[in-house]
Assembly symmetry: C2
Homo-oligomer: 396 residues x 2
């Protein structure tokens, strides 16, 4: 299969390209290295050094014996995007080329606007490019479980049957996102659903949980990035870096908020399941993609235990929550579509986390110099102040 | 009350400024005259000539004895917008500054992207500017009944009570828009709801039906524009221009599609009701704003009869539908919020339409020269071809 990855230089894009190449697929992709720049702007840096894109591409060729057809370009530039899709003629397009940070999107008017513009218009351009140059291609789009928010209902996969005043319909499940970033993903979902409907495109919209994990390659050029700053690092990855440098695990608020999670390896496996089992023409399907859901607090305990087994003592510290979100809520998302395609979670999270900590230990000095980026300062009210420690005696 | 109108040079903005000034309110506004440019690009022109903005402002001062505090600027320019809001210090902001055309948004990738960028980012900038410079101000935002699409359920006002697998919640009513333009309005609605929630802003999101009507002033500088081209003209206004030049009334498809409608005068009255009865701090409310709903076909008959009474014979012609939409569907939207505030529809549409036709007759020669813009050529599949006549024998 010819698979084109938008965002191929990113945390998920780079290992996905290799995962798919190892299965014999032909790879192409586009990236403008925005993620690299935004992390630097946030004062962060990947814990595991990221090779320049040209070195990555060289390593890819050495490892898989063929080129990754790479285009250095921005999805906001429609002509470049169209030409890349047109010349590669993909059977499938995986779209990972978005700004993925909730805090960044809440930083101020410019960042909020840039996040929504970059994500929504980039995705819209991709829809037009697929329609124009590869209308049979299957779009696999990375959304987020955060699109749903935390309704007081089970969370189905995209759609649900509604009865209202005695009449029935099957409707998109209402979204209640929690940041301008999360809303940008909702808007993508709507545009994609609409494009499938009017143009007969086929798409899988992946509502993904929070991914954690490191690359396993010994060739650094093939390793993926690993961010731990408060803007672009995700929670388990940040916890692991905190363990490595002896920093307390920082939990926002009570930590009773529940979220869905997924090891990096499962993410690659699930995206491949979607790719290798495409929907029919005109079909728009939504997959909830996660391995388990749990509270932030339980997560911190899990990381703490994994650290203890490695002989590293780690404390848990609660910080003032910079986000505006419900900390006590019902949470019960469905996950049947991927299971029906054969996905069966089997990774033990504690073992995985221990493995990550071991892989990160060599980069300890690297991380310690930037330890200040571990603490959030972007508040959801648009102000900036470092989150202070909460008195945990008040937390039930 | 100090009311700031974004889009004050537009079809609704200009008469609204006068309506509010006549009630003793102080007016300010911003516009970048995008609508004027887009109509010209579409090959159209207002049937009733539009005075330059400076002449309009002069007439406003002469008529109401005070200045309209006008800023020539684009909502996409955050600094200009912020400074305009900051210096005017509004009690309320009416946001009408969006690209309002479904066909324009379906024309091609550039127009789709521009519509969503202009509308979504413009509105997002406005939210940040209000939060920053006038956080107590009441935002009245023009949305569209088209955000809802045509679900097989009654359409409530924004939210509904859901029971799902034995649990209950009050959730945003799912939106199913029919063009990239209509989706841009949905995205605005979500961003506004979120801003009210996290920042404590107050907003009324107006899901408005299709407006029809002309200005009544004898001073041309005070009259509003009147578009009839297939991109920016709305259906009843276009029908009236067709009557005036003896062109058949062009109905898309079977004409059984139902939509909500509203005379211009009622639109001004309803927006004023919203303004003069603001929501509480942090409250996001949705008003469905229309006077009646009916099918396109009944509408054409209504216009035909109004024309007949004026002694003008008019035919009805069905064209191939350039849109992708359900033509047979359930349609029953609520309209309780405005009624509760005192709105009571009383305008006879046929009399109103006859009045419009009479007002347009002096501009007949004007309209006839651009008669070609009456026929749609933008297809929802992204192609361009003039809609051809349907054989009505096939239409039940």
């Amino acid at each position: 299969m010819r698979v084109f990855i938008a965002g191929v230089d990113g945390y998920l894009g780079w290992p996905l390209a290799q995962y798919l190449a190892a299965r014999g697929h032909n790879l192409g992709g586009i990236d403008c290295q925005l993620r690299r720049r935004l992390v630097v702007e946030a004062g962060g840096e990947s814990a595991i050094p990221v090779a320049p894109i040209q070195d990555r591409l060289t390593a890819f060729r050495e490892c898989f014996g063929e080129e990754l057809a790479y285009c250095n370009g921005d999805l906001l530039d429609y002509d470049i995007l169209l030409s890349a899709i047109d010349s590669f003629q993909p059977d499938a397009v995986v779209h990972l080329a978005e700004i993925p940070s909730a805090p960044y999107s809440m930083k101020g008017p410019a960042e909020a606007a840039f996040t929504q513009q970059n994500n929504v218009i980039g995705s819209l351009n991709l829809l037009w490019a697929i329609k124009t140059a590869a209308p049979e291609a299957h779009l696999v789009k990375l959304g987020t479980m955060g699109e749903y928010g935390t309704p007081n209902l089970d969370i189905p996969e995209g759609f649900f049957e509604v009865e209202f005043r005695g009449r029935r319909d099957s409707l998109p499940f209402p979204r209640q996102a929690g940041s301008f970033y999360h809303w940008s993903k909702v808007y993508d979902s709507h545009n994609i659903m609409f494009a499938c409907h009017i143009w007969g495109l086929r798409a899988t919209d992946v509502m993904q949980g929070i991914v954690y994990g490191v690359s396993v390659s010994s060739d650094l050029r093939l390793c993926t990035r690993f961010d731990y700053d408060a803007e672009f690092g995700t929670i388990i990855n940040r916890f692991c870096c905190q363990v490595v440098i002896g920093h307390p695990l920082t939990v926002y608020g009570s930590g009773r908020q529940q979220r869905s999670f997924l090891p990096l390896e499962d993410c690659l496996h699930c995206l491949t399941l979607a790719l290798e089992n495409p929907p029919g023409k005109g079909e728009y399907r939504v997959f909830n993609q996660f391995d388990r859901f749990t509270s932030m607090r339980e997560l911190a305990s899990m990381v703490q235990e994994a650290a203890t087994r490695l002989g590293i003592h780690t404390e848990i510290r609660h910080l003032e929550n910079p986000r505006q979100e419900k900390e006590d809520h019902y949470y019960n998302p469905d996950r049947q579509h991927l299971t029906a395609l054969g996905y069966s979670p089997h990774i033990n999270p504690q073992e995985q986390i221990a493995f990550m900590i071991e892989k990160l230990l060599p980069w300890k000095d690297h991380i310690v110099t930037r330890r200040s980026v571990l603490i959030p300062e972007i508040q959801w009210d648009g102000s900036r102040r470092l989150a202070t420690q909460l008195d945990t005696r008040g937390i039930p």
